[in-house]
Amino acid sequence: MGLQKNDLVGLIGPNGAGKTTIFNLITGVYEPDEGMIEFYGRPLNRMKPFQISKLGISRTFQNIRLFSNLSVMDNVLVACHQHTNYDLSDSIVRTPRFYREESAIRKKARELLAILGLDPLRNEYACNLPYGQQRRLEITRALATDPGLLLLDEPAAGMNPQETVALMELIERIRQQFDLTVLLIEHDMRVVMGICERILVLDYGVTIAEGAPEKIKKDPKVIEAYLGDANQ
């Protein structure tokens, strides 16, 4: 499996096919038994998740994993931590560098929240947000790490048609604005067929098809394993 810069690729397949496992392998949660994962030529195999994040790969989760008891702002600020340039002693003694860096990342966080439409909610506890906003917050937080590659795990899960359309717009917008490569796991075919330029279909851990949405829609193997009747 391979991605080019600025690709918007969809990863689909039945549950249990291994889609989230791929995300976990890329982000270092699991270590591959065989084979090599590379990011701009850099092998990721032995790296820990936080190191991979620093290389520029970020993700959202299938089951929302926000920092529930922290505010919206704090959730984003945690993701900014890797770009914050002060150490423990700066925090303890409250050096000028501490204040400078703190206001810099706060500014950045607020800008990001504004772009994603969450700034008015920034002081709310993450657990108090409505579901759709929580998904949005997860994306905002992932963007705060300044990624080159963004992995979205079922971002439209549980969303109504209106929210889904808004999400599709959002994904296209942020890809543009933040110069991202996006890999997307989704079951909602409106999203996959709507915005993905290329689709990979996984079944029992194997890629059974790959190509443009039009081609995938008609692929008999895909229809049998996953899509169901082509006339739907």
Partner: protein, 330 residues
Amino acid sequence: MQQLKKIGALLIVLGTFVVLDLRFSASLNPYLMQMVIYAGINIMLAVSLNLINGFTGQFSIGHAGFMAIGAYSAATFTYYLGPHLLTSSFLPQVISKWLIFIIALSTGGFVAALAGVLVGIPSLRLKGDYLAIVTLGFGEIIRVVILNIDAVGGARGFADIPGYTSLFWVLALATLTVVVIRNLVYSSHGRAFLSVREDEIAAEAMGINTTYYKVIAFVIGAFFAGVAGGLFAHYLLYLHTNSFTFMKSIEIIIMVVLGGMGSITGSIVAAIILTLLPEALRPVKEYRLVIYSGLLIVMMLTRPQGIFGVREFSWKWLKDKILRRSAQAI
């Protein structure tokens, strides 16, 4: 300019403590003085444990072990190296004693911090109950090892420790502990600690080195517990491992939980209340411990998040409360 103002504030605060010490050390009822000193030591213990348990979410129940290490290390320094340093020093005795005490307390803190690294490392792979058992084990190991070292008294205890602890030291070091941990928590590093508590997997995915932060929480928590131990040793003038049992760890945990895991103000308030309460209940004689325990149970049933929950005291909150009250009155 900012730095000058800060140094100025620091000097004023220290100056106030010196004044309080000079004014009250000799004249205050020794019983009350003891309460104040113990309250200060307990504040240090509770706030340092809160960093590990409340802010970083690591289930540590062996905090008395760190206190013990600090106490015995500091006392060893003053007892064995102190006299020699005092006689060979070219500085006035008062200053020498100060310096010796500072070095002793620092030694206590650093040795405890080292133990914090050793305890922090198993914490990397263990969670919840399993981590708790490891920390409990460490606490007991430390206690039993010290019990078997004759040079620090063993089963007879460690006697004749010089009485360097004074009101000034307790006030200064309790304040230092609170300020350091508070500054740490309200920073990006603090948010990193919190993210480890909230969701480790998400934290790692967002670039937080959870391993580092878990160990650092133990190290810093242990450091201040060690310094508190050093203060304790040089107040009681006698040390025995019976002061550092699992029960002691539990007492500290109770302070943290009662005050609110994740609230520094809570730890301070709870430490003070739980230092004073047993004494305030003395009139009730044999029912003292029953009532003490009963109060804790009632507290946990009615307000399990503790007095302050996860929030801190703030002037703004107080103002809002008062203003809202008066608005209702109208």
